[in-house]
């Protein structure tokens, strides 16, 4: 994965600017984190497939996809803010708030679930925007702002709900969590794919997405090029909130209920998956560069490693240690791969 602090250099043969991508593009792809992740995923799939019984069983693939789906969207919601060189510790808190709103709108207000869904998402987006505005107006680092709002959002949620769950959700919604398409594919996975595609379009094909990247990479330059950086940053946080709520609602579907403990105390359980995906995927923590596909694959890889390790039945208390080591091995392998390819390019 491209996780050097410094941006990797896009290599390309000496050529006049006129000439189009052509060979460079394909080579750039071979060097990219995305390709590295794909290789790793294939390798580990084979390994686990051989080493364990049931890794490739349709049930395991189904649950794997379902778990990954949620982690992917969580990762994307963090990515949306990392773009600006900031971060959003409140993803979990926002997610839970959205989920509980959704539950309340259905059980307490009695709205049909699609409308409640919209309500939940709207709230999430709003909370995200609050973060963004606070960051822009105060000029404080998003870390400290979202640290505080995480506590506030979550606290208010617990205060209002008294930690009571909402479980009177309509079948038509909760079945999304259990349904198996073609025996192995969870609808949630499809949602995750759809969301990812939407983000790809945003960052590659819309001015706003490009402005988000520019504003994140170098605010001063972006401003002097006519980008409304403040507004863009707020939008990034809003997007993050929105994505967090999507993830949360996917989790609601999966758990068949909206529960305050869904993301743990203060929603902190989400932080790990939130960062793992993007960073493995080659998103620059300093901002200005994202990889949606990378985040997708990164989250997938981690979920896969966990699942595989559990199936390997290592002494129950040692799984975590092994996961860490596997993770290290994974990034080191990939690093070696890039060095090799790069050295080949030079001469």
């Amino acid at each position: 994965m491209n996780v050097e602090q410094s941006p990797a250099r896009a290599p390309a043969p000496q050529a006049s600017p006129a000439d189009q991508r052509g060979p460079n593009a394909s080579l750039r792809f071979l060097l990219s984190n995305e390709f590295g992740l794909i290789v790793l995923i294939v390798v580990f799939t084979v390994l686990f497939g051989l080493a364990t019984k049931g890794f490739l069983s349709s049930f395991n693939l189904f649950t794997l996809g379902r778990t990954a789906a949620v982690n992917i969207v969580i990762g994307l919601s963090m990515m949306a803010v990392i773009v600006t060189g900031g971060l959003n510790l409140a993803v979990g808190a926002i997610g839970v708030c959205a989920a509980m709103t959704f539950g309340a709108l259905i059980e307490v207000v009695g709205l049909p679930w699609p409308i409640a869904l919209a309500g939940g998402l709207a709230l999430g987006a709003a909370l995200g925007a609050v973060n963004g505005i606070a960051v822009v107006r105060s000029g404080l680092h998003s870390f400290i702002i979202t640290l505080a709002t995480m506590s506030i959002f979550f606290g208010v949620m617990v205060f209002i709900t008294r930690a009571e769950s909402f479980r009177g959700l309509p079948q038509s919604f909760t079945m999304l969590g259990r349904m198996k398409l073609a025996g192995v594919i969870s609808p949630l996975l499809i949602v995750a794919v759809a969301v990812s595609l939407a983000l790809v379009v945003l960052y590659r094909l819309t001015p706003l997405g490009r402005e988000m990247l520019a504003a994140g990479a170098k605010p001063e330059a972006a401003v002097l090029s006519g980008v409304r950086v403040d507004r863009v940053v707020v939008l990034c946080h809003l997007l993050s909130g929105l994505l967090a709520s999507i993830a949360a609602l996917m989790l609601v579907a999966r758990n068949g209920a909206a529960i305050p403990a869904m993301a743990g105390q203060l929603g902190q359980d989400w932080l790990l998956p939130a960062f793992l995906g993007p960073v493995l995927g080659g998103t620059l923590l300093s901002g200005g560069r994202v990889s949606v596909l990378g985040t997708f694959l990164g989250a997938l890889l981690v979920t896969m490693l966990t699942s595989g390790l559990l199936l390997l039945q290592i002494g129950e208390f040692w799984v975590q240690a092994c996961l860490g080591i596997l993770l290290l091995i994974a990034v080191l392998l990939d690093k070696a791969r890039r060095l090799f390819l790069a050295s080949r390019r030079m001469i």
């Binding site: 617990v158 769950s165 209920a257 529960i259 105390q265 199936l311 039945q313 129950e316 975590q320």
Partner: protein, 318 residues
């Protein structure tokens, strides 16, 4: 039966469940199971537990004893397991009805807190009985039950809950907050009830530290620190639970359920805030008197429960 592979799955790494491992082993030996293994989620996270359970099913475990990571949140996973033909018993804590779990074998968290509070208040000197309540994460619905139960007991006995300190399941904040509380309010409180493991340990230590035997404290569970504090008179007693019994009897029961037995509808089920199919695995108050042989006491309870368990709660094809 010898094809039954039971998995005993706690909510996460926690000393409370340590006894399950032995219980499982014994059960597997005594009832000739293919296995009854203690499987611990890596983190105390609902998603981690769910992922482990799914994996275990894939690994061929066909009967489950589960401490629900969340009374509501775990229901769907349990339903899936049962749907896949693996009977599930909620152990130590219950699932909220309705769920496909056969029944709940454990401690009525609310009730045990209630009893504990009663025991505490009983021991308070006459006068206004001011008690402080230290408990775990608020996001855990059981915490709300405990808070309500303690308030309930207090109301009945004319005592007053002057402060509730929650969200202290981690040692550092627990130590910080409890000491801070005692530092400021040691004289404004007569009794302390703790309804979670870590607060119990920390509070016991704190009282020992300020050498205060005036404040009466009732703890929970069997952590060495608490037991020792009882012996030394810093803690009045603790609400003991019966993890071993849960593990042992639970494994026995799921095996039966796999081999054709069904749950008796008309059994003397207890009700609690979460479910109507609740079996009390035994909670007893252990004071200085009983503290030395609480283990045997617990084994006693387990034996009694076990001896009548099958015919009380199950219909089995003879």
């Amino acid at each position: 039966a010898d094809d039954t592979k039971v998995a005993l799955v706690p909510g996460g790494p926690h000393p409370y469940f340590a006894a399950w491992e032995q219980a499982g082993k014994d059960a597997a030996r005594d009832f000739g199971l293919a296995g009854a293994d203690y499987k611990v989620p890596q983190k105390w996270e609902l998603s981690a537990q769910n992922q482990l359970l799914e994996s275990l099913l894939t690994q061929g475990y066909n009967a489950f004893l589960i401490f629900p990571g969340d009374p509501v949140g775990s229901v769907s996973t349990v339903d899936e397991l049962v749907g896949a033909g693996a009977p599930v018993i909620a152990a130590a804590g219950c699932l909220k009805d309705p769920s496909d779990a056969s029944f709940c074998l454990g401690t009525d968290t609310g009730h045990s807190a209630y009893l504990g509070a009663k025991e505490l208040i009983k021991r308070l000197p006459a006068g206004k009985k001011r008690i402080a309540h230290f408990t775990g994460f608020l996001v855990d619905p059981n915490t709300q039950l405990r808070i309500d139960a303690v308030n309930q007991a207090a109301k009945e006995e004319g005592a007053e809950v002057v402060q509730v300190i929650a969200d202290i399941d981690a040692p550092e904040p627990a130590e910080e907050k409890i000491n801070a509380y005692l530092a400021a309010h040691a004289n404004d409180v007569d009794g302390i009830i703790t309804t979670a493991w870590v607060p119990a340990v920390t509070a016991a230590n704190a009282l020992r530290k300020i050498g205060d035997k005036r404040i009466v404290m009732v703890g929970i569970d069997h952590d060495e620190v608490v037991i020792k504090a009882i012996k030394d008179g810093f803690v009045a007693g603790t609400m003991l639970q019966n993890p071993y019994g849960q593990g042992y009897i639970g494994s026995f029961a799921v095996d039966k359920l796999r081999s054709g037995c069904t749950v008796k509808a008309d059994a003397p089920w207890k009700k609690n805030a979460l479910t109507d199919h609740f079996i009390d695995s035994g909670t007893v108050f252990v004071g200085p008197e009983q503290v030395d042989n609480y283990v045997t006491a617990m084994q006693g309870i387990t034996k009694d429960l076990f001896s009548t368990f099958e015919k009380t709660y199950l219909n089995c094809p003879s």
